[in-house]
Amino acid sequence: MTEVLDIAHLESAHRGLARAWIEFESGLAAVPVIARLLSGRLRIEDYRSLLFNLRQQVVDGGRWISRAASNLEHEELRSLFIRHAAAEHRDYRMLEDNYVAAGGMREEIRGGVKNIGSEALSAFMFHAASQANPVGLLGAMFVIEGLGNRMAGPWAEAIRMQLALDEDAVSFLAYHGANDEDHLAMFDRALAMAVIDAATATAVVRHARIVARLYRLQLEELDNV
């Protein structure tokens, strides 16, 4: 009986995440820079600004994931978070390289500060990661990995085509488009371990919805520092 109920909670989490994703994806299409990208009107300044702004938040990725890891009770989940942090914590360098390949100055992107949306997103991540047993952050990972898995590949290709850039200028997006499939399979296993009751299912979905909104805010507030 317990097992049946566990599955029901897990399924409910999957539904909640899928619905959060649908809202996120639709919201993104309305963000000006993404709307220009999707309709083939992106300018090189847009792309540089995107890289510049993402870098200031991505640089924190390995940190909040490892902080969350240190607070996780479940050993397997902790292990997974640690591996994930190790895999991602230098990703921001790819953004810097892409920025340079797209005509930007390395010292500028390195010296940048977070935009208003990135501040909110990053602050929430560190706040959530600092809580006891923050399994809800799987919802945050779902949104960010989903972005890589579902959007980054087509975006990389569209940006390359629209701006006539080489592959070395879009490697951050292309890398996530190619690799986050494995990450999502890993995510499914983690979710099955983490969602043991209604409360964890709710927490995961809630974190996903919050992070989805704050991620969109980050893109809405490009260069608003």
């Binding site: 899928a18 619905r19 994703w21 639709s26 299409a29 309709s39």
Partner: protein, 379 residues
């Protein structure tokens, strides 16, 4: 909702056309086109369909006549006299005429007295739009009996003469896949249901419990289009904005197109609607006895099953009811073809639930309807 499906009927023109004989009807463009056709058929799983066009390119049919033939079938089996009908809603993708609507054309052919009409024009989901409007008209007490009819006559757009000399066609007779795909997917026919404010006195009826239809055009660009062509900036230009009709035709504005990749992007949204209905307690996946899902291709069905299983909203596969493989994809008529075949199948028993699902790729619509089988004697 006090609205019951008390009757149904269908009409599929001519004999079933096998995959091997399709090209006799829609014509041959090139070897490459035929190869893409075979690939499309493997993916959609359709084995036969019907065409209202003869191999020589002539026809006696229009949407209005196909719809009227379906109504003849409906009334031949219904206890209701057609003079008792007060409302007619029609559904189609492209009407015979641009002006006026199909409901006028069908009304003229139908033998119905003066009735209230509504013409729904969209793609597959227009069938559900027509059904919902008929159900609401009846439930609101505006009419005691209403008809919802869907009809399609796509094959007329797929003949070589509609492609030759247009920008869409390459010198070697090859079409881009977004234009070729639909030639091997859509076919012709009509079907409809009778909706009344009480169950039929004899036999089984379907009580319409609710119908949910939502557009997601706020987030999707048009992905199945007709009547427009892309310009160099990638914008869709309506045929009427071209300087001359000849230029619109030359640009391929009158061709039906389907961005096949976009279907896969829409799938999670279509399924997300089912998740919403499950979360809201309106659908219990295990409690659905018959699942009538209009899917345009077997490959989409398989992808949908995989996604649904994880989220606990997979309707058990032995409850799925489809006629796609034998009757083809008849767009706006598909919902009614499914309902008519289910009602005739002998599989229904009082108390069972029927869930209908109609996704529309056009600019992304998803519709679900829940019905309960009732026996006339019990109510």
């Amino acid at each position: 909702m006090r609205a019951y499906v008390t009757g149904s009927g269908q009409f599929l023109p001519g004999e079933p056309v096998s995959n091997d004989a399709m090209a006799d009807y829609i014509g041959r463009l090139s070897l490459q086109a035929a190869r893409l056709g075979r690939l499309t058929l493997r993916r959609n799983g359709i084995r036969s369909r019907h065409y209202a066009m003869r191999p020589d390119g002539t026809t006696d049919w229009t949407l209005a006549r196909l719809g009227a033939a379906a109504l003849d079938d409906l009334f031949a089996r219904s206890g209701l006299d057609r003079r008792a009908v007060g409302y007619l809603a029609t559904a189609t993708t492209q009407n015979d005429l641009m002006v006026p609507g199909l409901a006028s054309g069908l009304h003229a052919q139908s033998g119905l007295p003066p009735v209230e009409i509504a013409s729904m024009q969209s793609v597959c989901a227009s069938g559900m739009m027509a059904l919902k409007s008929a159900a609401l008209q009846v439930a609101a007490g505006e009419h005691a009996a209403a008809l919802a009819v869907g009809a399609e006559f796509s094959s007329r757009y797929f003949r070589p003469g509609h492609y030759h000399g247009t920008a869409a066609m390459n010198a070697d007779g090859t079409l881009p896949s977004d234009a070729e795909f639909l030639r091997w997917t859509l076919s012709d026919g009509a079907a409809g249901v009778l909706v009344e404010d009480r169950p039929a006195p004899r036999g089984l009826s379907l009580r319409i419990d609710w119908i949910s239809l939502r557009s997601f055009a706020d987030r999707f660009a048009p992905c199945m289009t007709g009547g427009a062509a892309l310009n160099e900036q990638g914008d869709l230009v309506p045929w009427s904005h071209f300087p001359t009709i000849a230029e619109a035709a030359q640009a391929g504005a009158f061709q039906l197109r389907q961005d096949v990749e976009a279907l896969h992007r829409m799938l999670p949204v279509w399924l997300g609607e089912l998740m919403r209905l499950v979360d809201e307690g309106r659908v219990d996946p295990g409690g659905v006895d018959h699942f009538l899902c209009h899917f345009s291709a077997r490959s989409l069905r398989d992808e949908m099953v995989a996604l649904a299983r994880k989220a606990g909203c997979l309707i058990p596969e032995d409850r799925w009811f489809t006629n796609l493989y034998e009757k083809g994809n008849v767009g706006a008529a598909s919902l009614f073809l499914l309902l008519d075949d289910l009602l005739r199948s002998g599989r229904l028993a009082a108390g069972q639930t029927v869930l209908c699902a109609v996704p529309e790729s056009g600019q992304c619509v998803m519709a679900y309807a829940m019905m309960t089988v009732v026996d006339g004697d019990e109510t």
